[in-house]
Each structure stands twice: as structure tokens, then as C-alpha cells.
């Protein structure tokens, strides 16, 4: 059976599509991950936040971060939009949505996704979603590729660019070390408005929905983080549409790992199959070459033999012709000699006579 190149590629393509399809079906099936039971999180209520920056100050303190340029009670920093950086794991920004009577504040930090994009992008497993809730980072294995920074849909992880020898990726830790000691995360502990509520994620969801029910006019009917990117440990409530406080509304509800799972699940198979396939192709090619060589050799031999025979025949013929020519020459010479001898005899005879 002969397989054309085109047919072969078509089969491979179909196989690939089939495999990814199977991967997705599994992902969307009953195996949906809804977060670790009893894992903790924080509910941020933007209608309560007054932008006092106590959370920023507390975060700075408990994480022993360097002192900022402007002190934390200087609220003029709110005039511009900030983001997290290597030295601040959380920042509060001020927004003035159209039609709003008062400014709206929004706290930014790692949302501690239930299925984190950073962890799925990290090939040394420096990021890990712990069953307790925090997404932790292990600097000792990090190679500094910064794929996590590109993968994060919330643009949270930062990098210590100014450290030449030991740069680390930095982000909010959900105060995992403090949680171990039975303390609240620094920001939650410091918030005077209780705009931050710490607790089990399941409880926080109930609280969030209860607040929306009790104060329908105050909130947008949505708990941000309940389903965004498959759910996050940090949850957000707001009185204005989330897009107006710079929170992405285009993320969808699919966890980041699932977006790449289909394609990536094929990788082991491909890496397993490729050697077999390539060795096979190599063997076939080798065999084909061997046969070709053999055939060539045979052909050459035949051709050589044939030529030789022909040459010999030609030679024999030539020889024969030469022989013949020689004989003829001899004959003629003999004849001539005989004739000459006869003539001489005749003249002698005449002389004599």
C-alpha cells in the first residue's frame, strides 16, 4: 500500500483534532474543580472602602517591604492609577465613575485563583495553589523565566529587576505565614472600615450574596471572582460596574489551565509518539535506500557484464577479422611468392633455354 505525503498529513491532523477534542470534553465534564473545601479568601467591598491606604501600610509592614517614596497617609498618590510592583503587593486606586456621587476605591492584589494561570505556566512548579487558599511562590526553584507574569490575567506578579543576583517574582501571599500563626492577613487586620472580610470562601460567597440581597440599590448584582477565570479566592463587591473600576469583564469563567489543557495534554503523547514515528520513518527510509542501493548494484553488475560480453564479442570478431586479414595477407604473400618463384623458374628456363 502506498501512502502519499498528503494523505499521511491529513491523518495526522485528524488525529490531533480528535485528541484535543477528547481533552476538552474531559475538562468540561464532571471533573470541574470548584476550589478546595474550607479554603480561605477575602471579600473586598468597594462600597465600604474609603481609600485610607491602611491596607497598603499594613501589607508593607508585615511583608517587611522597603518604605515607599511618599508615606502611606499621603493620599495624593491616589491621583494617579498605580499597579502592584516588586515593593508593593497591594495598591488602592481611586475612580470617579460617571454619575457617581463619590469616588470609588478599588484594592488590587493577587486574587489567588482557584486554578492559577501563573502555576500552570510555571514549568518548575515555583507557584502552587495550596489547599488552604494562598497561591504560594518558591523562590528556590524559580528560574526567572517570568512566564507567570505573562500568564496572569490580572497582571499581578512583579519581578525584582534591580536585584542582579537573586531576583524573585513578587506578589501578595495572602499572608500565608500569618495565617499559619492564626492571624488575619495584614490588610484585613488593618482595614478600619471592614471593607475586607476574611473567611472561608464558601462563607464569603454567602455574605456577598446576602449583602446584595439586603441592599439591592447599593450593589451591582455580581460577585467578582465567584466565577471569573474559574473562580478566585479574593471576591469583590462593587456599587458601580466592575469595568468602571478597571476590573476586566472579558475574562470568562474558564480557568486558565483549562484553556491550554487541551493542547498541552497532547504534548506527552506527541513526545512519546514522535521517537517511534521518527524511528519508523528512519527505518523505512533506510530500508528503501538499502534496496535501492542493492538494485543499483545489480543493475551496474548486469550492465558491466553485458558490456564486457559485447566487448569480447567485438574483440573476437575483430580478432577473427584480423586473423582473416592476416591469412589473406599470408595467402596473398604465398601466392605472390609462388608466382614470383614460378616466374623466376620460367625466366631461368628461358635463359637456360
Amino acid at each position: 500500500m502506498s501512502v502519499s505525503r498528503r494523505k499521511f498529513l491529513a491523518w495526522m491532523g485528524a488525529a490531533g483534532v480528535g485528541l484535543t477534542g477528547v481533552g476538552q470534553a474531559v475538562a468540561a465534564g464532571p471533573k470541574e474543580f470548584k476550589g478546595y473545601t474550607n479554603s480561605v479568601g477575602v471579600l473586598f467591598d468597594a462600597t465600604r472602602c474609603v481609600g485610607c491606604r491602611s491596607c497598603e501600610a499594613a501589607c508593607n509592614k508585615v511583608n517587611q517591604l522597603p518604605a515607599p517614596e511618599k508615606p502611606f497617609d499621603d493620599l495624593s498618590v491616589l491621583d494617579e492609577k498605580r499597579r502592584t510592583d516588586a515593593e508593593s503587593f497591594t495598591v488602592v486606586n481611586r475612580y470617579t465613575p460617571p454619575g457617581a456621587a463619590k469616588p470609588v476605591f478599588r484594592k488590587i492584589q493577587c486574587n489567588h485563583c482557584l486554578e492559577p494561570a501563573c502555576a500552570s505556566a510555571c514549568f518548575v512548579k515555583a507557584f502552587k495553589k495550596t489547599p488552604q487558599g494562598p497561591v504560594t511562590y518558591d523562590a528556590s526553584v524559580c528560574v526567572g523565566c517570568r512566564y507567570c507574569m505573562i500568564a496572569c490575567p490580572f497582571e499581578i506578579p512583579c519581578y525584582e529587576y534591580d536585584k542582579v543576583l537573586t531576583p524573585r517574582v513578587t506578589k501578595c501571599t495572602l499572608c500565608a505565614p500569618r495565617l499559619q500563626q492564626g492571624l488575619l492577613p495584614g490588610c484585613v487586620s488593618a482595614c478600619p472600615m471592614e471593607a475586607l472580610t476574611f473567611g472561608k470562601r464558601e462563607d464569603l460567597l454567602k455574605i456577598a450574596h446576602e449583602r446584595i440581597r439586603a441592599y439591592p440599590g447599593r450593589y451591582v448584582d455580581h460577585v467578582y471572582g465567584e466565577r471569573e477565570m474559574g473562580g478566585t479566592s479574593w471576591l469583590h463587591l462593587s456599587g458601580v460596574p466592575f469595568g468602571q473600576i478597571d476590573m476586566r469583564e472579558d475574562l470568562g469563567t474558564t480557568p486558565a489551565p483549562q484553556l491550554t489543557k487541551g493542547a498541552l495534554s497532547v504534548v506527552p503523547m506527541v513526545t512519546g509518539l514522535w521517537p517511534v514515528l521518527l524511528v519508523g520513518i528512519y527505518a523505512i527510509t533506510q530500508r528503501k535506500n538499502k534496496i535501492a542501493r542493492q538494485e543499483q548494484a545489480d543493475a551496474v553488475a548486469t550492465a558491466v557484464a553485458q558490456t564486457q560480453a559485447e566487448a569480447e564479442a567485438k574483440l573476437a570478431k575483430a580478432r577473427e577479422a584480423a586473423e582473416k586479414q592476416k591469412q589473406t595477407a599470408i595467402d596473398q604473400a604465398v601466392k605472390k611468392a609462388l608466382e614470383e618463384a614460378a616466374a623466376e623458374e620460367k625466366s631461368q628456363d628461358t635463359e637456360e633455354s
Binding site: 455574605i207 446576602e210 439586603a214
Partner: protein, 538 residues
Amino acid sequence: MKKVLLSIGVFIALVLAINITLHARDTLASAGSDSAQRPDLLMIDSMKVFGPIKRRPVPFAHDAHQKAVAQKGQDCSVCHEAKPQSTNNELVYLFKRLENRDADTVRNIYHGQCIDCHEQTLAKGDKSGPVSCNACHTKDPKYTPGQAPMGFDHSLHYRHAKARDNKCEQCHHEYNKETEKLVYAKGKEGSCRYCHGDVKVENRIPMQAAAHQACITCHQAEKIKKKNSGPIDCGGCHDPEQQALIAKVDNIPRYERGQPDAALILPFSPDKPVDDKNLMQPVAFNHLAHESTNDTCRVCHHAEMSACVTCHTMKGDPEKGDDVNLMLAMHKEDADQSCIGCHKTLAEQTACIGCHAAMPRTAKKDEAKCAACHTAPPDSGMNLAKMDAKARRAMAEAMLKARPDNKKKVATEDIPETVTIDTMATVPAMTDPDLVLDQYKEAKLPHRKIYAALKKGVTDNNLAAFFHGNETTLCQGCHHNSPAGTKPPKCASCHSRPDRAANPLMPGLRGAYHQQCIGCHQVMNIEKVGCTDCHAKK
């Protein structure tokens, strides 16, 4: 190769299309956003009645033209024709025509008349309007229309009624289908909008046309008689600044249209009385008080001037009243015309919102709140089902007079003058090993002053005064969920833990204080919302 070419082609087309769309969006945006609004600006788009218009609508400043015409000693007839059979010189509010005959005629009228006049004015050396196509059909008009809606409130109605010697028939009319004429029906006067809606229905012209026709025709006639008359220019009615100059009459005498002083809202249909003691108590409605506190009758009587139950029947009727039954018509929270809907909107005033915004929507209705309106008849022997309409009215009046006196005063000495909030300093659980939370000193609350401010907001307002007759309800604004009285429990009684509450739905003590104080200050526009406004730094 062909595929490659094709995809490149598609790509280029896409890029072009996106560019064009973006460009179009830019131009559209710039047309609207930068230009100022004018109350007299009309966009002439008359050609739209003949199909999609081909050129941009023309911005036309009506008052500027009216002024220019007047300066030349001319009147409205320069631009508007009078109705052929009109006795009072009623004008047709179309430019130089009685009707929209056909596209060419209308276009020629505008082009001929506008350009002609502009050219003539120019020739005289006066300031004039444009004469070129794009100058009128401009893509970035200097002004956009901005007409503030004009209302006909009680004060204006009173002034008009007085000026017309209470001759209601001069404005109010209804349509007689048999004679096909507008006739006046005494005692059936209602709001113009009951018949004249946003668009023309059958032979009823839209409200906009009806109002301009009725108001301006009359104002103009008065003006010709050199009498004090209302405006005939756009700005006179639709410019917010000029609206503010319209004289307001205080203590307007009551309309005479046979309405009751007090109405009894019954728990059954008035024409089908139900004799059942278990029905909800009736509500004695103070019609008289509501007349003076609302700008127009239409605030409540939104569709017709009749009793609510006429349309909103006990069970609701798909044929009338939008299938909203009487109970909902009175209680619907999101309706402007229902009792509770309107009262809730009023509770959003700055003086009220501080307490009312903090009140959660509860699933269970408070029985005490129901009883504020649903009161028992003073004489328990009375049978509502056996009364006639007159007796019910009389009873409503009697009920209003006999309203239980719940006006419980709070003595000034019972109100602490200042309250010092220093509980935080005494709570050891507040100390966080990593965070020192003692940068601020205790807060001193001017308690009596706060109470006085809340009380002032209530006494200035009849509605609030009625519902806050018992002054301890004011205490409950802050001392929420605690029984009314002058000795409410301490905040820490419920908000026991400082950092967070045992009940996750209830804030901790520090959160409770800050949410209560700052939340109220924010909505009541009280400037003090910063840390050092209440706490001195240590």
C-alpha cells in the same frame, strides 16, 4: 498562491473597514460632545417624513431668528402660515407651509426661503446666515438642542386660572366622537397628558404639538393685546435659567374639582363590600395634605383623574391599570406613583438618606410599619361594608383626626451631650503583633448635636414628621436593631469583637463604628470623612 492572495486581500479590506469605522466614530463623537447646548436650537430634519434623509440635519436657532425678524418689524407670519379656518390666528408650526406635500416642494421651500432671506439680509450689509450647502448641512454644529422639560405645576396652573377668570374651558377639553368636536366637560378636567401622549394616536396630536399650539397661540394673542403674557420664544419655557425666573405663588388655593379631603382606601372593592373582620384595616388617606406637597396631580393620578381602585382593581385587571392590583399599586417599591415607592424616593433626600441608606431590605415586613397607615376605625362597632361613600369619607376624616398620638418626645437631658469612643484602647484582642494599630486617639462624638441635626431634618418635613412622630425612632437611625427608647444597648453588646464579628454578617466593633459614621457622613455630604477629622493623632 491564489489562497495567499485572497487572504491578503481580505486582510487589507478588514484593515480599511476598521479604519473607516473608527474614523466615522470619531467624527460622530466630535459632532455631539464639543458643542454647547441651546434651548432654542432645533435640528431641521423635516425631510425624514419622506424617507431616509440624504443630507445632515440643519441646526436652526429659533430664538435668534425670531429676534432678527422682530427687529425688522416683522412677525411670525414671515415664516409661519395661519391655519385657514382659525379664528384666533393659530399658526401652523411648519416652516412656510400648511402640510408636508412632497419632498421636492418641502425642500424647495427651505432652500428658496432660507437662502433668499439670508442673501437679502447680506446684501443690506446686515449680519446674516449661511448661503452655502455645507454651512447649513454642517457636520459639526456649534450648538446642539438642549431643551429643559417644562412643567405646568400648581403655581402656574393657579396663575393661568386666575388670568382666565377660572374659565377652565379655555384650556380643558375632551373629544366628542359624535359631533367630532372638542367640548368642555365640567368636573372632568384632567392633565393634558392623559390624552396627548408622546406620539400621535388616532386624531390626538402628541403632547409636544398640543402644548405648543395651546400655549403659544394664547400667549401670542395676549401679546398682541399688549397684556402681560407668557413666553412665545423657546428659551422662555425651555431654558433652565429662565425657568427659575417664573414667579411662584405661595399658599395656592385648592383646586375645586370635587376631590375629598380624606379618602378611605378600603380592603375591598367599594362597589362589592365584603363584611369580614379579618380583612386588612383600611387606610385613611390625607388627600388634602398630599395636594399641597406635590407639584401636580399627575404625581399620583398618572393615567386619569379618578380613584386608584378604578383601574387598579382588587385582583388586578389585564384590561386596565396594567394588571397591577390595588395592593401593589399602593406598595410597589419601584413605582413612582405608589405610596411606598414615592415615600422611599423621598427618603433618599440628603436629610433622610443617612439613616435610610443603612436600612437593609428585610424579607419580613414590620407589622408596626403597616399599622402606621392601616389603622383601625375609631369606633369598633362601625361596619365598613355597610357604609355608603359619604359615610366612608366622613369616617376617613374622623380617622385622620383621631390618629393615635404617638408623638413621644425625647427630653434633652436624656440625650448624652458627647460620647467618647475609646473602646478600642481597652480591647486587648485588637493588638496585632505585627501591626501597631494605635496611631490615633479616641473619638469624641458630639452626640446631642447629631441628634439635633437629625431632628431638624424631620421637623422640616411633613411626611417625615408623621412617620417619626415618636422621636425615639430617630435614635434608631444609629442604634439600629435595638428597641426604641432612650436607653439603647451599647454598640459592643452586639458588635462584641473588635476586629471581626463572630457572626460574619455583622461587622466587628471597629468596622461598625467606621461604617456607621463614615457611611452616614458620605451620603449626607458631611465633609468629615478623614481619619483625623474624628481622631487626633497620637
